[in-house]
């Protein structure tokens, strides 16, 4: 049924030609490597320990989601997007739902809007927590990973209770959310807020302030503002290079324009700035959750929609801010029940394209730190 395992070629021919220089060494990092968080394959050209060139090889978990979606209805295709960026699956689903709603011109009930934003921010928190642990693990500190998971687990429990799943929730549907909030949601979320407020200072104590960590991160993988824009970086990666690109601020969706929060911007452009952006973003997300948790309006959680959704002929693009950056859904409809073509603009793909530029001239240990600070999720890149 499945294609037989293909024997992989060692290196593409155009790199192998440069191999004559004796000081250079070509080394593969990934697909089975502890620091690539998945099946990213990097072909690195080294001179001693200094990186000359990094070339990402993708496609190890390419599932052709875009092609799959062409045969799925507008209700069905949303679940697939959870499998792209599995750490912010909620936000991906949200982006798809927004795009379908844009096409159908459905007005989402106020309650559903708030629930969506709450879930988005909780997902962002969970994603950043995992990133924090993985980031520390990349630079060699193993303990923070477990500490991060302790808080992440509470979020997962909240999600599990309301949405029914821990990672790939499929909670958003066109017109609202699938089920109403669980009665325990508010109390549990408040407990989590109290817990996390005390723990986020521990994060700083354990990792942020650590002199070794700071030395590993500062002035490493510098990405200038122009380069960040040119490479199409979004999310914390770009905001660390002082590019204002928070979709929640620039093109507010749902209730973001009524909320008090800052767009976190750092100016360094190095790994440490990217680290700080995410750390500060966690506090911002926490404050958003705090603002909303007591103000969930009563009412319907789902708008009335037809059983079979048909988008009018046309093109629809919606953008949303995931934990990694701008996620775009581009639907081309021919008026049928299934999309004619869907394109997912994933944040990780563009962020990864800047990796070579960032890592050139640094050490192999820095590459790991840079990859960690980019917060790559490989299914998001491969799609």
């Amino acid at each position: 049924m499945y294609r037989e395992t293909q024997i992989l070629k060692a290196v593409p021919s155009n790199i192998a030609n440069d191999f004559d220089d004796n000081n250079e060494m070509i080394i593969n990092v990934g697909p089975q490597h502890p620091s690539t968080h998945g099946v990213l394959h990097l072909v690195i050209t080294l001179s001693g320990e200094t990186i000359k060139n990094v070339e990402p090889h993708l496609g190890y978990i390419h599932r052709s989601i875009e092609k799959m979606c062409e045969s799925l209805s507008y209700r069905q295709f949303i679940y697939v997007t959870s499998r792209m960026d599995y750490l912010s699956s909620h936000i991906n689903n949200h982006g798809c739902a927004l795009c379908v709603e844009k096409g159908l011109q459905i007005e989402v009930p106020a309650r559903a809007k708030v629930i969506r934003v709450l879930m988005d921010e909780l997902t962002r928190l969970a994603s950043h927590q995992l990133w924090w642990g993985a980031m520390a693990m990349d630079v060699g500190a193993l303990t923070p990973f477990f500490h991060a998971f302790r808080e992440r687990e509470t979020i997962n429990d909240i999600m599990e209770e309301t949405c029914g799943a821990r990672l790939t929730m499929n909670y958003m549907v066109p017109g609202g959310v699938m089920v109403d909030l669980h009665p325990n949601f508010q109390t549990k979320t408040k407990e989590f807020i109290a817990l996390f407020k005390s723990k986020i200072d521990e994060y700083d104590e354990l990792v942020t302030g650590n002199i070794i960590f700071q030395n590993r991160m500062k002035d490493v993988g510098v990405l200038s503002k122009e380069d960040a824009i040119s490479y199409g970086c979004t999310g914390p990666t770009a905001r660390a290079s002082s590019v204002s690109c928070d979709i929640r601020k620039l093109y507010p969706y749902e209730v973001y324009n009524q909320l008090q929060f800052d767009e976190v911007i750092e100016t360094g452009g190095d790994c440490y700035s990217r680290y700080l952006v995410r750390m500060r973003e966690m506090r911002q997300s926490l404050s958003i959750v705090e603002q909303l948790i007591d103000n969930i309006p009563e009412g319907e959680f789902q708008a009335k929609t037809k059983a079979v959704l048909k988008l009018p002929k046309g093109e629809f693009y919606s953008r949303i801010e995931t934990a990694r950056g701008e996620f775009g859904v581009y639907i081309i409809s021919e008026g049928a029940t299934t999309p004619y073509r869907i394109k997912f603009r994933s944040p990780g793909f563009s962020n990864l394209s800047a990796l070579n530029h960032m890592a050139k001239g640094y050490k192999i240990g820095d590459l790991v730190a840079i990859m960690g600070s980019l917060d790559l999720v490989i299914p998001d890149i491969d799609r």
């Binding site: 496609g59 620039l250 046309g314 793909f349 563009s350």
Partner: protein, 149 residues
């Protein structure tokens, strides 16, 4: 800048410009042959510095390349569409203007078979180097990996 203003401005810049109506953003149809010069002018005169989405669409009779451009200073968005011949799709690369295009164009080459002229490193991105066919085209058949529901 609103769509109308942008349209007026672009009409001044490119007198022969063709626009497509409908849609959220202004859509600008370009010929693949002069796409490179238009791209350079868009980048320099109108400050479209951020290319956030590049994709191809297979319309069974022809292919279309779609570029979504935006400006990080003025916040206006423009959609560029370019019609390509399906049997020999060729278009100039813009990877030297927006470097993010390098990967996005490789993706489009991989999945649609669009050849980007002067691209620095046009190879398969997701598929293996010896893969046959262009998977996102509508007539692509793979009896092994595709399961018809």
């Amino acid at each position: 800048m609103s769509n109308e203003e942008l349209k007026i401005k672009l009409s001044e810049l490119f007198p022969s410009a063709v626009f497509e109506e409908g849609g959220e953003w202004l859509t600008f149809l370009v010929e693949p042959t002069n796409w490179k010069t238009i791209a350079q002018q868009l980048r320099s005169s109108n400050d479209f510095d951020y290319l956030f989405c590049v994709t191809g669409v297979d319309w069974k009779t022809h292919l279309t390349m779609v570029y979504h451009l935006t400006s990080t200073t003025h916040r206006h968005t423009l959609v560029i569409k370019s019609k390509l011949d399906r049997n020999n799709p060729e278009i100039e690369t813009v990877s030297d203007i927006w470097r993010t295009a390098e990967f996005h164009e490789r993706e489009a080459y991989d999945l649609f078979g669009v050849k980007f002229l002067n691209h620095p490193d046009l190879r398969r991105l997701f598929m293996t180097d010896d893969w046959k066919g262009w998977p996102l085209r509508k007539d692509y058949e793979d009896p092994i990996n595709m399961i018809k529901l």
